[in-house]
Point group: C2
């Protein structure tokens, strides 16, 4: 009899509704890390927290706020889904290092150091050049380590990511991306980066966002799970999890906001194109939170043990949450 198998999706940005919260329960998802900032300032991010407070109040039979790994266990016992907050961009801390602790106090547990473009802290994966972590970035990493706000480099450029792994005293995460050797998208991660990440105890969450998949929305479950098997042999199954990047029910105006924020007068199509500017269709075998069983079946089919499947489906993220969401231990 193994340990309890938890199910965690470490990245979603859906157009939240009671319907989706019910689907989380139907899919037996114990915890979801949800994005609450793409380009938001601190104050705008707080508006998103206010919206979540309202959802927690109205739907407290389905969801609850998550702050620690223990909350995932509490959610499981209560038959709810624990919701953890994260930023895909450091925009909510603006230019103010003191906002890192404030954001942690408000519940943020992941923060990307850059989102596609250069930030005040690090370089994004769409910039032509990547000078690595900035002066402010070095201080921000130390402060994030201190308070327990996890560094996420999903949309960052390679050198900045390697620098962050090296500079951080605690393991970091790539919450939603796939290996570049499987599908050579700009957003997918080079072998060198994934080796450095996982050697230091960092976690990779596999993405189901079609632009990150081999063959896009036509990617097969078997291909996806074989890629995970190969990743396990390269990086260790214990450092792998799921971060679907599910953007369910979002209008295309949202992907335009994600890509363009307020910085661009021209339309930036990011991973899309002028001919296909919107959200791409998801693979048929993963359309919403009810479809996690399919991934579990697929992982077993490519030869993972029950413990390995439980790790990838959630237990690895839970171990990471337990270790990294609280203050650093004093030396």
């Amino acid at each position: 009899m193994g340990e309890t198998a938890y199910r965690i999706d470490n990245l979603q940005y859906a157009n939240w509704s009671e319907k989706i919260f019910h689907q989380m329960r139907e899919g037996r998802v114990d915890a979801v890390h949800v994005t609450i900032a793409y380009h938001e300032t601190f104050r705008e991010m707080v508006l998103n927290l206010e919206a979540w407070n309202t959802w927690f109040e109205r739907h407290n039979d389905l969801i609850m706020p998550g702050r620690t790994g223990e909350d995932v266990r509490i959610a499981r016992e209560a038959g709810k889904t624990a919701i953890f907050f994260g930023f895909q961009n450091p925009s909510p801390i603006e230019d103010d290092i003191g906002l890192i602790e404030i954001c942690h106090q408000l519940g943020a547990r992941f923060m990307q150091l850059s989102y596609n473009n250069q930030s005040l802290l690090a370089t994004g994966c769409y910039e032509a050049e990547d000078p690595g972590i900035t002066r402010f970035g070095k201080q921000a990493i130390a402060e994030m380590n201190r308070v327990g706000l996890v560094i996420d480099m999903s949309h960052s450029a390679d050198r900045s990511t390697l620098d962050a792994i090296d500079l951080s005293a605690r393991p970091i995460a790539i919450t939603h991306a796939n290996p570049h050797w499987w599908h050579a998208a700009l957003r997918n991660k080079k072998d060198e980066v994934l080796k450095a990440l996982t050697t230091r105890g960092g976690m990779l969450g596999f993405s189901l966002y079609p632009h990150h998949l081999k063959d896009g929305g036509d990617c097969t479950l078997e291909s996806f799970c074989q890629m995970i098997a190969e990743s396990a042999s390269r990086y260790g199954a214990q450092n792998l999890g799921i971060g679907t990047d599910l953007c369910q029910d979002q209008p295309d105006s949202i992907v335009t906001w994600m890509r363009n924020g307020r910085w661009s007068k021209e339309t930036d199509f990011g991973e899309g194109s002028a001919a296909a500017p919107g959200f791409p269709p998801m693979p048929s075998w993963f359309e919403d939170n009810r479809d996690f069983d399919a991934i579990e079946v697929g992982l077993k089919a490519v030869g993972f043990s029950s413990d390995e499947v439980a790790g990838i489906m959630g237990n690895n993220w839970l171990r990471f949450y337990d270790a990294n969401f609280g203050p650093a231990e004093k030396e």
Copy 2:
């Protein structure tokens, strides 16, 4: 009989008071470009505009708002000093390209693309690496060109500065710095940069801030003026002006704010040191706005013609204002 000789100081950040506005008049200063942002957000910069509106209301016998070169001539006629606004950091435009035109509408005429550190647009001179102008930076330069907000690279790193000169369709400025060959401070500018700047019609304003001076506060007027003479031979006298960086009557807490903003938990001493953390003492021959006569005398003493002296003391900046503070002409 030559043209009228105007006197313009293209950079000050004093602790503004009626006393200083009187000194501007005593020194016959027709226009001053004043800093209204170091790390301020848009809203915080607007608070500084509100303070200036109050000064304009109370002291309208001494100062007036400056928006165009013509306002310098109007100020001269009226016996007032025209005040032009500028930012030493792009922090007031935050992540929003639309704020560039808004800031111009509110009177901003210069904006530095970075201040010591990496910004969203460009790299500052204290960063270890300089990748040049970012994706957002390229769009911001085009928008600044369009509306007539002058690019200032005084605190930027070399490659970013060369990129900005190259990318900008209109001449740019280094409002307050000296040549690196005269005094090898990190903030002073390399010969290569000054050649590229002035070849494209850009302006250099010579700084009187002691950290930018050979021998610091002990720098002689003769040494300063000989440096200007050598600069004229290298870069053309018509591309030179004054940008004193006068921080008159400021408490040392202000230089701490300038250097540390909100980004640093450690104390960054910038051009100072732990042993000398405050504002350095000014040279005895330039302590406030009443001392411009001394510079004029010094320039004549090193052999400049009357027209050249008039150019450096203000007419070159006025020509630059006339050409660069309005919308770009349609092609």
